[in-house]
Point group: D2
Chain length 316, copies 4
């Protein structure tokens, strides 16, 4: 077994040296300002030990990674009834495509494309005031991340709202089919705010640790979801977690993961590790360019791919 701390330091050094860094999202000034040279990684191993390298303590905008946590929350609230409003299949389209919604009468393909996450947010909102729903989500993230300093970046949320016409189109479209139940502005308001949560790699790895350990974070002893639900969320991340680059991520990295346009990726090695990586430059599918490469290296060097190991297969 390679030394995890050493591996992370190697990876961080390699990443710092690479000239190819992807393209920082620039659709809002708050994201455009991100430092393309930043790179951070944090890993919690099976013993609950945290290892980190690079900019692992700098908060960044988690963006779509929040969709993993809102999915978890919504499943806790309504269980499998959630699947009446959103599917579980890869979309075969970019993250913000509206074509599929027309073909499937307003039901988004999965909870990790924008339309699906808006529908999930609508379930969480469910008749409450937006501020209450957002408070609930934030409390959940602080509980998962074990850190009360986790916060919503209001400037990011305001910018998202100001420019979020594509998401408004998706939400209104779903509303026209009754898939969105609350006022569109309320649902979008909560959505924009939870995407604007800022977390560091260290906080994010802690927050996702329950997914690596049968639904229970061994670092805290607290149970979040059942083992079966943890597996299923992992399965959804594997098939749908990286928009139209999900197949590529599975092929290269071999771990369930969810990326955000802020450059973060949360990845899970079931039974072994919770991993958060951050580098703001994106590839053409909208996923962190160096984040993906770093995870590919990490999974390979640690033998963490869920699709098999290098070695001769040991007896079960």
């Amino acid at each position: 077994m390679p030394d995890l701390g050493a591996v992370l330091n190697e990876i961080a050094a390699e990443m710092a040296a690479r000239p190819d860094r992807g393209v920082v999202a620039d659709y809002i000034p708050e994201l455009a300002r991100a430092d393309a040279s930043a790179f951070g990684i944090a890993v919690i191993d099976g013993q609950g030990e945290t290892y980190a390298a690079g900019d692992a303590d700098i908060p960044f905008s988690i963006q779509s990674i929040s969709k993993v946590f809102t999915l978890t929350l919504a499943l806790g609230m309504v269980g499998d009834r959630l699947w009446r409003r959103v599917g579980r299949e890869p979309s075969g389209n970019p993250f913000n495509s509206i074509v599929q919604l027309e073909r499937e009468r307003g039901v988004p393909r999965n909870p990790f494309i924008n339309a699906g996450a808006i529908a999930v947010t609508d379930v969480i909102l469910s008749g409450h005031q937006p501020s209450e729903a957002l408070g609930e989500i934030l409390r959940f993230l602080r509980f998962l991340g074990q850190d009360d300093t986790i916060f919503v970046d209001k400037a990011v949320a305001a910018s998202e709202k100001r420019t979020g016409f594509r998401n408004a189109a998706l939400a209104n479209y779903m509303k026209s089919y009754g898939v969105i139940e609350n006022p569109v502005d309320f649902t979008l308001g909560v959505y924009f705010h939870h995407c604007a949560v800022a977390m560091s790699c260290r906080q994010l790895a802690m927050a996702g640790n329950y997914l690596a350990h049968a639904g229970r974070n061994p670092a805290t002893g607290l149970s979040v979801v059942s083992p079966e639900r943890a597996r299923r969320i992992n399965a959804l991340m594997l098939t749908c977690g990286h928009y139209d680059g999900s197949g590529e991520f599975a092929y290269r990295v071999g771990l369930p993961g969810k990326s955000g346009v802020g450059g973060g990726i949360l990845a899970v090695a079931p039974g072994k590790a919770s991993i958060a990586v951050w580098s703001p430059g994106l590839d053409p599918s909208g996923n962190s360019h160096l984040g993906r490469i770093a995870l590919e290296m990490l999974a390979k060097r640690m033998g963490w791919s869920i699709f098999g190991t290098d070695g001769s297969s040991a007896p079960v």
Copy 2:
């Protein structure tokens, strides 16, 4: 650890009793004739021991499962150059959709939808006579399955050819973009024939065993592909192996797998088992109805999901 043999017998008994059996494919008489009450399963465990229950020795038409083996063969012939002709993303469309081909200029999304498998077949054909290419594929399957009685069902192949207008449309469409290089009839001929290979669950589990063990079949000691390539084929099966039901299969079963319209499914528990199941009735996505349910039970009872276990996470 539950007793695998007992688990298989339980599952076979439960499957025999279920009234819901899906719908047998009826687009050609040879498939329509299949017995909806049939159910077979075979598993090779990490020690190379084979367990079986039900109709595990009856040959059935493997249909699209052959795509896993032709992909393996083509990667062996041209390596990563294969990916110039076919993508690695889930399609978000039914298995025989042509819409995506128009949007992406004739390049199919992945090797497991029909268009993609036809493109892969074209790579294998590569200037040879169809009979030579088919001979090569059949030899490969017999080698993998360790059984020289594995055969092409000529009646199935002839029926497929006679009715395969949708596949002819896909092939001609790709040809118009230069993605198919051989004469369309040649490529389709080989494609229809390798889809018409008949194998039993026992043979199929043996043939897929290399995918469970880092590319090397421990039962024979023969190496088929590198560990990395085995992982990557598994990843493709997970994200794309069940047409537009791939997300659902990952969500429920949690194992890489490839289904065929003949009612077979090959599934892989990396490091643990190679599994073949067969029941001719299909669900609306075209995957074996009872096959999927049986695999869900098996993965759950044996704790084989690649997305995590039930138990408390053991230290790494």
Copy 3:
């Protein structure tokens, strides 16, 4: 030449007797309340004489017919620069499809589908207050219709706004591509209001008379557009005026026309007549069922099809 008055009376009598009346739009209560037995028709001939039959003086919601007049107004304001924001091709899709917008980067196919008419409305709005723009449109309609009692049905507008999520999706989608320049709510507000204008067949035939006579209403002597522009608006009505039933309308009726979901149709026999017909029941494409049939009869009996006459061709 048949007697126009007699022909209209015959048609009105035939329409009153028909059992098939289409289906009244019911997405808002104000339209759902329309009387399915209503039928009205008004024609202004080349001498400026008005003929009418049936319920030709009952105001109805003109809905999409307003798109002809807003197009005329916008062309008067910005000329051919309008075509940077909207195309001139039939859409091949239902009136409220959003698929095409994704394929063509937010530019709607023509000014007569909803997306296109919203884009045209945005051009008219152009930095003004919604109330000013709406006032301008209403003044234009009263001028064209020569009747200051033409009004906006506020209850209809309010209902449209309350339920218009699909249109909000279209507008937000175009806004995301910069095709909409004003605040989405402003543009939609004006759009919903001009669709809610109520007019009678008599008023509508008068308002459209300029299109039958080289851009100049001979009944008033006032010039509205150039002869070339009148021809071009007629061409757009012919190819795009009836949503995905435009080909059918051209095939059966052979006159440029524009329908509305309130059951009205404005049609033009160039050089010969301006025609307005109204019957609230719609066919599956969203066009007045009896309105189309009445126009088919009228064009046939009067020999008005733009695609040729019955008789032997006279010398030019």
Copy 4:
């Protein structure tokens, strides 16, 4: 009334001088060889007088213009039953799109896109030998064109067949839905051959003259179709005759017409003239660039637009 002969000479002179000539189709060598500097036009007026200018007697490949004549022939054979196999709506897609076929279960949108014309050809073939059907079509064209020298260019047909994979895809796709009844190769063979017919502008104007005169060619006295059918074919040409440039052609020219990728356009001024124009360079929609411009000039100078005149409207 301007002098037609003089107008044609002016137009031919203007066209000869233009530097913008479009792009000659180059998908087969026989078309690629066409002389981009060629331009011809022929018009038969209401008195049966023929006027011509430029290269009006050089035969060119009529390509898709043949679709007008095969439609006429098929309607003569099966009447309105034809519409069970093909629609009458503009497609909103390029001429060889297959997307629409998937959405509408193999039924092409109209007889003037490739898929629709293949379906029409299949109706004409209807159980006969391909050579018989082709003979029938050729006899019909020679009868319409009043010239027994009209011929099929076998080299063009052979090249079309050798490269026609996209059309083979369309035909096989329709066959999979039962829309094509004959063997695909038979239907395609006839299709490729009738598209390969060569005609001069003079022959083509004569062949289309029945459409200008209520279905009867006054130059020969022979009746081809009923007045109503002539109008309806004209309507289809107007809405669908120029692929995804049909709206633009109606908007600019204002005449029913059908273009071919060989650079020809047949246009009809109902009651006034049959027009054929030819210039091999194409615009991006696949229609003759100078052909369209010449027709726009001609219609404008002669006042032939079906959408209205320049002058003050004369009494009916």
